[in-house]
Amino acid sequence: MYSKFVLKRMMYGIMMYILMILTFSILFNNVAEQTLHDQIEEQITQEIRAYKNMNKEQLVSIADEKRAQKNQKYHLDQPIVFRIFYRTLDTLMFNYGNATVLKAANGDKEVLNIELSYLPNTLILFSTQVILTIIIGIPMGLWAARKPNGFLDRTTSSLSMITNGLPAWWLGLIMIMAFAYGPLGIFPSGGIHINPAPEGWDGFVDYLWHLALPLITLVLLSIWGTAYLVRNIVLGNLQEDFVMAARARGIPERVVLLGHTLRTSMPAILTIVILGLFASISGNIVFEIIFGWPGLGKLYWVAIQANDIPVLMGTLAISTLINILGFIILDIIYGWLDPRIKVGGKA
């Protein structure tokens, strides 16, 4: 029963991924092909330079031959439907081609390697955000639930509403202005390392120092919503019969809250919180740009500025994959924890 649900979810996920990549291939067909043509021309010009002692006509015919060869190699000589099909297939196989301008740290021009050199920073920022938010947000939510309408409860709910419509990158700008420049300038204004980057342990400390301000900003934004969510889930569970029974048995309130209620609420809390934070990951593009944090979001900006279409397309494909993977996995975990979802998934 559950394995069927998992299988179905995964199948739909793969189907959606293929459909989305197909959509991108169709939408961006013109610009992608134009880039490919330009790249081919550039290659031909370079290769022809190696031929010496030839007259102009011979060179032109060699160039034509090479062009035909390459067009065939990249399926550019085929009807548009096939060209789109092949591009979709290539993208699905992570074969994103070569960048026009950008390079990976080791000088590699292959788009996939560029993506992989940027991806870890995004994952580090995101995972530390999730961990810190959970560590801080859950106790806050519990405390708020303990005294509904108390000071902390009101603060949490109102701040969660305020931070709801607040762009993370704007708070980033303010934080940079306050804590990177001026008298309180104790943090670096961006990037992941000072120049030149220190090695070993110092390098790690330097990385943490650069991570601090973006991380604080993100956590400052996400804890309120998380605490509010925890508070709602815990309050809902506090009205259950088993809590009343526990209280009737004379179990101290602290144990009821931490032992009984939190334990039953934990699965829902974890999945919903991570799900909520996950939805924000793709919104963090501008955030990374503001902080000069070299993650996937920054890569979008770099690719747009350099007009590097292959990298832009590759980044979009990777973001899409991560998005779908994340949602599907969380969906599956949630379904495992809460059987009602499975029934919903079956319908």
């Binding site: 419509g165 420049y181 503001i290």
Partner: protein, 467 residues
């Protein structure tokens, strides 16, 4: 549902709504926003700024990157603030041989501890017009800052900046008061406005003490022939502080930008959420009621849009196709309806099994009649809550696309103001009055809608009320 029923329903709803402080606060803020958004052009100090936001000439008389006027703390030294002065009276006198002379008087009350950056005379003129510009100081002394000879074929705006071209005349004025003092002054070094607005003292060049009181600027024009004409002279004071929210690097008034940004934030937020919610509700109800294949297809379509990384997609689209604001709205609509879909789908699945639906089906009502007359009206009120809650997201999306410089350049939005601020070094130069207000407005508008949405949600979704 007839009108009376609807009205009493609304009355009941209002009675409930009135009890929610949060909802009332949200509604008040929203009404304020709508009012300022609709009548903003009468509020802003620069009418016509909407069309001229990116026109450098339009803003040329403002100071650059000046802080807001309220940074003049009551106990601190007062910097001169920017001002636009207009004539208090004008009179025409006939001179001999048919020549007419027109004089405009423009009063200015000056109280700052620091002279303004510049004083700019501006007037429309045509034909041959000799113009004399003078300043009468509170101590009764008259400074002739310029004697111009206009010779214009077409009517056009003429500007005269005291800082740029009045130095020699101002030194002459000082010389008439104190010859020794003036002898040390050089026209390319002195600050003419400082001389103009300070007491005549030995230290006036380095440690000026401003002369406070009522100044009078006069513009005198001689009309030598029939078509010669001078119109609507103004004096613009370019201060060190400017407007309610200061100015940016391009000399634009930020308060004006914030006010005209309201309109677009409201249009984008309300229009997008209205359409998305209608689509989401309709599809949710249809999927739930019809079931089977239709349900499957709609749910897959929902999944497709739900799983798509919206912001990256919007950014790539905007970067490649350079879309207008209407395309952006259309794209957000395509992606956003999924937010309203799921809750409505769940509600409709329950409603479908209700007795009254069964009853009308037994009476022979068609599927569409049941959907449109029975289920749709039941979920529609709740969808208003969803709508209000989805507005902040939409506004943030537009701002996110705009701050990357990928927004529609023909509109003025808060995101674009932030883009200019980010790109032109507002953060590094600590021009906080350029960065803080647009973001606060986005947050405030988002907050208003969230308050409203939460209040509506509590009233309209019965399940939540018990909580």
């Amino acid at each position: 549902m007839n009108i009376r029923e609807t009205l009493s329903g609304l009355g009941e709803f209002w009675d409930e709504f009135r009890k929610s402080v949060l909802g009332l606060v949200g509604l008040t803020i929203l009404i304020l926003f709508v009012l300022v958004g609709s009548f903003g052009q009468y509020l802003i100090p620069f009418p016509g700024a909407t069309e001229n936001w990116r026109n450098i000439d339009f803003w040329q008389d403002n100071p650059q990157a000046a802080p807001p006027v309220w940074t003049n703390l009551p106990w601190g030294s007062q910097a001169a603030s920017s001002d636009y002065l207009i004539e208090s009276r004008t009179e025409i006198t006939d001179l001999d041989n048919g020549v007419k002379q027109q004089t405009w008087t423009i009063p200015y009350h000056f109280t700052a501890d620091q002279a303004p950056r510049d004083v700019i005379f501006a007037f429309d003129g045509i034909g041959q017009v000799p113009v004399i510009l003078t300043v009468t100081r509170p101590d009764g002394k008259v400074v002739e800052v310029s004697r111009e000879q206009l010779d214009l074929v077409e009517q056009q705006l003429t500007r005269f900046s005291v800082t740029n071209s009045g130095a020699q005349n101002v030194i002459e004025f000082v010389r008439s008061q104190d010859e020794e003092l003036a002898s040390s002054m050089q026209a390319d070094i002195v600050k003419p406005t400082r001389m103009l607005f300070s007491k005549i003292e030995k230290t006036m060049e380095n440690l000026p003490v401003t002369l406070k009181g009522d100044y009078v600027f006069t513009v005198t024009a001689l009309y030598l022939n029939e078509q010669a004409k001078l119109e609507s002279p103004t004096v613009r004071i370019s201060g060190f502080v400017s407007g309610l929210l200061g100015t940016d690097i391009s000399k634009r008034d930020i308060f004006t930008g914030i006010v005209i940004g309201i309109r677009w934030a409201l249009i984008i937020g309300l229009l997008t959420s209205l359409i998305t919610v209608l689509i989401g509700v309709l599809l949710g109800v249809i999927a739930a009621y019809f079931g089977g294949k239709i349900d499957w297809v709609i749910n897959r379509v929902y999944e497709y849009f739900y799983l798509m990384p919206i912001i990256p997609f919007l950014i790539v689209i905007a970067a490649i196709f350079k879309i207008t604001i209407w395309w952006l709205i259309a794209l957000i609509v395509i992606f956003f309806w999924s937010g309203a879909f799921k809750p409505v789908y769940g509600m409709a699945l329950q409603l479908k099994e209700e007795v009254f639906v069964e009853a009308s089906r037994a009476l022979g009502a068609s599927k569409w009649r049941i959907i449109l007359r029975h289920i749709f009206p039941m979920v529609l009120p709740y969808s208003f809550a969803v709508m209000a809650l989805s507005v902040p997201g939409v506004i943030v999306y537009e701002a996110t696309v705009s701050i990357l410089g990928l927004g529609d350049p023909s509109i003025v939005s808060w995101g674009q103001i932030l883009h200019d601020a980010e790109g032109q070094g507002a953060v590094i130069n600590n021009l906080w009055w350029w960065v803080v207000p647009p973001g606060l407005m986005i947050a405030l508008m988002g907050m208003a809608f969230v308050f409203l949405g939460t209040a509506l949600d509590k009233i309209l979704q019965p399940k939540l009320k018990t909580r």
